[in-house]
Subunit: 433 residues, 2 copies
């Protein structure tokens, strides 16, 4: 069989990593595929004398590259929405298979792109778009295919997890750790994407679609960042036997699906609690198998290249052995998608961690517990902290309750004359059923 010919668009950390991995590991990869892989084009604006580009055509005109007849598979690693989207569609239109790590593009424009790929009988492979080197797409789409997925919860942004880990281990404030993360190159100069949960929401959009067989709906993901978490909250959570993680959660509830990214208290014994630093992990609860977890490096050149090249190998096998090269597995895991209701924030059901700073006077705790009780909220634990600058921080953990009830309770607690500042609310998940 003739070699399968690739065009790599973008030679940043990941693009260069893919090129080098294909070159260094060529022999072992050929043993797996039984077929040669040849890089015919790279799309780059800068010359890269540090890379071995012998015999590879270089151009900065990406649209031109994806139209070339000597390209079977396009590896899109330029990122962002534009011009990536136009290039994507042009590649598909020309019958090219596409491999990508572009979570933003797929989460925000994926429905259109996947439909176009179906129409042109090609596939879009995106293992690298969710959890870097952890093959979570393959696991969800194939490995757990026998199951009805009940929920998944993931640490799917390494920067956020690094910040929360440092805040816990060294009792440092958020802003201070963020600055270090930026210096270490983990966080961008504009850290919004990471710390406000947008990157995680992109990834959750993809995971939820293949878990439940629903369309990609990034705009329906409730997203809350970690910038308001204080070192105090991290410490109080510890004292209560919990750990704060920034989780992406997709859950099948009786009235629909919850899609949410937010800081979350989880019990220390939960496997996800032991995922530290820039590591990623996804825990999945599925009907037949129960709870399984997948962890590893979620970003970086090597891990992302590992996922991209695994997709390339899958596609080489599909091109070689399936009738039309479009593969045997539906792109979004299901042959047909279902439009299941996505719940609004007010309809979520979770436990809660509340921290209220109050005047140190008789009856305040009674006032608060009465409000909670009147709203139908059960208290699981209370921690009254030592006085701090004339205020007493009260920490309350509740059983799961629908969020609209909690909104009501918090607005009443906020209105108490003894309450100072904002009531801090962090959702809590036991993840045990």
């Amino acid at each position: 069989m003739k070699p399968v010919r690739l065009a790599i668009l973008g030679l940043g950390t990941v693009g260069a990593g893919v090129l080098q991995l294909l070159q260094e590991n060529a022999k072992e990869i050929k043993r797996r595929t039984g077929r040669e892989i040849q890089i015919t084009h790279v799309g780059t604006r800068r010359p890269r004398p540090d890379l071995n580009l012998e015999g590879i055509q270089q151009s900065a005109n990406l649209l031109e590259i994806v139209r070339q007849p000597d390209v079977d598979v396009v590896i899109e690693l330029i990122g962002g929405l534009s011009p990536a989207k136009e290039i994507f569609l042009e590649a598909i239109k020309h019958g090219k298979q596409v491999v990508t790590a572009n979570k933003a593009l797929l989460a925000e424009c994926g429905n259109e792109l996947f439909a176009s790929a179906d129409q042109h009988t090609v596939q879009i492979a995106y293992e690298a778009a969710v959890a870097g080197g952890i093959p979570i797409i393959k696991v969800m789409r194939e490995g757990l295919a026998a199951n009805r997925i009940e929920w998944l919860a993931g640490i799917i942004n390494g920067t956020g997890n690094f910040i929360l880990t440092e805040m816990r281990d060294k009792a440092r404030p958020f802003a201070d750790v963020l600055k270090e993360a930026q210096e270490l190159g983990y966080a961008e100069a504009d850290p919004t994407f990471d710390v406000e949960g947008i990157d995680a929401a992109h990834k959750l959009t993809l995971l939820a679609s293949i878990a439940f067989g629903i369309p990609l709906q990034f705009d329906k993901v409730y997203t809350e960042g970690i910038s308001k978490i204080t070192a105090q909250d991290v410490q109080y959570a510890e004292e209560l036997g919990f750990c704060i993680k920034h989780l992406g959660i997709a859950r099948r509830a009786p009235k629909g699906i919850e899609l949410r990214v937010h800081p979350t208290l989880i019990p220390k014994e939960q496997p996800l609690a032991s995922i530290n630093g820039v590591q990623n992990a996804v825990s999945v609860k599925a009907s037949a198998v129960g709870q399984t977890m997948y962890s590893g490096p979620g970003a970086g050149g090597g891990p992302t290249a590992s996922a991209v090249v695994a997709d390339i190998i899958d596609i080489v096998r599909d091109i070689s052995y399936t009738e039309d090269g479009s593969g045997t597995i539906p792109q979004l895991a299901f042959e047909s998608l279902e439009d299941i209701n996505i719940l609004s924030r007010e309809e979520f059901t979770t436990g809660y961690y509340l921290r209220v700073n109050v005047d140190d006077r008789t009856g305040v705790l009674a006032n608060i517990t009465t409000i909670l009780s009147n709203c139908g909220i059960s208290i699981d634990a209370i921690l009254q902290q030592p006085r701090l600058k004339n205020r007493v921080p009260i920490v309350i953990m509740t059983d799961p309750i629908v969020e609209s009830k909690m909104d009501e309770a918090i607005s009443q607690i906020q209105a108490l004359p003894a309450t100072h500042g904002e009531v801090m609310r962090i959702r809590l998940e036991s993840l045990d059923s």
Copy 2:
């Protein structure tokens, strides 16, 4: 397209679980495959009025079932070597795809079975044979396909891990916990398969083959059980910051491949150390991605059925979309296997935990450390324990050393007049590179 027709051989816990999962989750599975799955035959000796077997032919003659024309896929869940092997070969000869959970059969007779499947252009799917519900075969064979695998280390026998966890958490002796495991139904009446590491060695044989592209070589796996581990050793390991796990390890060393199952000290911070009770986990170090880990329930009806049905779904997709139905992925991950040298026990390189009971007299420790030094063994830590029944237990942790040197050192230590009883030796792995 016509339905894909299955014969399920064996209606024990797993067989019944597969039947029920296919029935209960039929709608969701059809959404994934786009094709009906129909169970046409079950092979069972006893009537099962508790199961819904409407429209399914039942017979105790398994050889007869696998010859039937209305069977596309045979699900072999009877276990053991015979008559499973004959039935397997008969099914393959009749062009049936085979799904199995039979680790013993594949590890011991797999080379012959896979060759026969290749010859008849059918595939043998065996996700359920290694880590129950954790899709580790798919991960190794496809998800990490871009990488050169450096090593893998797995907790792949739940019974053994349950026993070691209880010994640690409750300071109970081995025999006592084993008895409980038998009462709980985790361990068989003859627990040899589990506690002596034979079951783990079967699974390791399969993992190593797909990790390195080598033939199945169960007879070359060095296997050591956990029955000699004492509650004391577990406690001393804890004090040194380690945890004892029964690991299956396959490692690419400079002169060949190490295949070994044995109790192992690993640092408490290693993700594998937090896998408790009957849970399984496999940690893999691969060239591009680094270290990833996969954990979950490694046995039981639901988890095993999850893996069997995932294999069935893969096969339904392959039958539907590939030219000859034999799938796109080589059965043992590589198109061609390589006969890489398998190292003998004496050639292994690992760190060591040694426990020696000695007379409490001057100069004994000096004697021991001199022996180690003369054999070229560096000491990493020493723990002298309080006197116990007139003897002093000395615990020594060493840096990695080739095992023949350690044999030499131990026989010299054993020969010291001050030494009492056997020198306890447990291998030690840092798992950090």
